[in-house]
Subunit: 214 residues, 2 copies
Amino acid sequence: MNTIQISAFDILNMETRKRAAFMNSISGFKSASLIGTIDKNNKTNLAIFSSVIHLGSNPALVGFINRPDTIDRHTFENILETNCFTINHINKSIYKQGHQTSARYPKDISEFDATGLTPEFQNSFKAPFVKESNIKYGLEFIEKHDLKINGTILVIGKVVEVFLPESCLLSDGAIDIEMAETIAISGLDSYHTTNKIARLSYAKTDKIPIEINP
Amino acid sequence: MNTIQISAFDILNMETRKRAAFMNSISGFKSASLIGTIDKNNKTNLAIFSSVIHLGSNPALVGFINRPDTIDRHTFENILETNCFTINHINKSIYKQGHQTSARYPKDISEFDATGLTPEFQNSFKAPFVKESNIKYGLEFIEKHDLKINGTILVIGKVVEVFLPESCLLSDGAIDIEMAETIAISGLDSYHTTNKIARLSYAKTDKIPIEINP
């Protein structure tokens, strides 16, 4: 493959939309999630995010990046109002509806209604889950970090409850998210199913990693 | 699929390694990257990270999460010393070597030497790239955010130069990272190739998204 070099200057001089497509591609494959929220008047909201990221296991923390200029500032406003949100994995059956949640619907229209996805309420948890999602979890808002360099916000939540298919929970605690039909995103708008190559054993300096199948 | 519920209490009571496997799975698919660094004595280091994340397009920012208790604190030490690092996409041909970089090698052993991956120096950029990687970019260290809740650090870099296969750069600025053989990670140790379902058009409230092929 013939390699080309793109400099910081080239990136700076790209047309805005082209630069966004380029920069959103170089970080690699991303998680595909729908974040469900509700405001103090019980109006639901649903928005696609590709920036959900593992932050820690104990305490059980997950974060996502919220842009202040985002098409979906309703998500963060609702989280500040009700202190909770849900993260719902996108699967192949709902990726078009998931993508459509990124349209700029006004605040009084719920993306659940607009896209046909079904809000699901679990126990006493206030924020809506997505019924059609196979792996989903509810979080309590813990803290935010303002990234002053570009005005984005890292929003951090603590996992309160997780729902997943029993068959996808493996004996060693890992979840087979491919079996649960979770998909991946690349760039701004590209959706991908996956094929497992292998799981590898815990790396040690004196051993070559071997395939494991818990 | 029969759904089960895992509570915050259940997560807290999991054995440490099991909890790590579980929590690393629920965020969805993750980027698969090798971060290359060098210290002030020109000793190279290479480490696998699944937490690389897009933070902004203008300025061109990419971040990753560094744990203070991580097996690879050398990466962050080197970044503080020399102010630069490289991010190199992992492909199917090098995922075993990539995984092996997570073994706890002492500071005087370079993971390049230990795993057989080849350091590559580009122009005047100080940190080493990975020759076997198809998409790779050099970054200048910009800032860090300490997440006090669990001691992790969000490390932010500005993209200085990008190397990629010419055939993978699409007309609209997106990179076909699947064509470049970039893979995805799930959990702590599961590696996946991808199959593109589709790219979808920019979402509008009055239109159904259609497939695009720039």
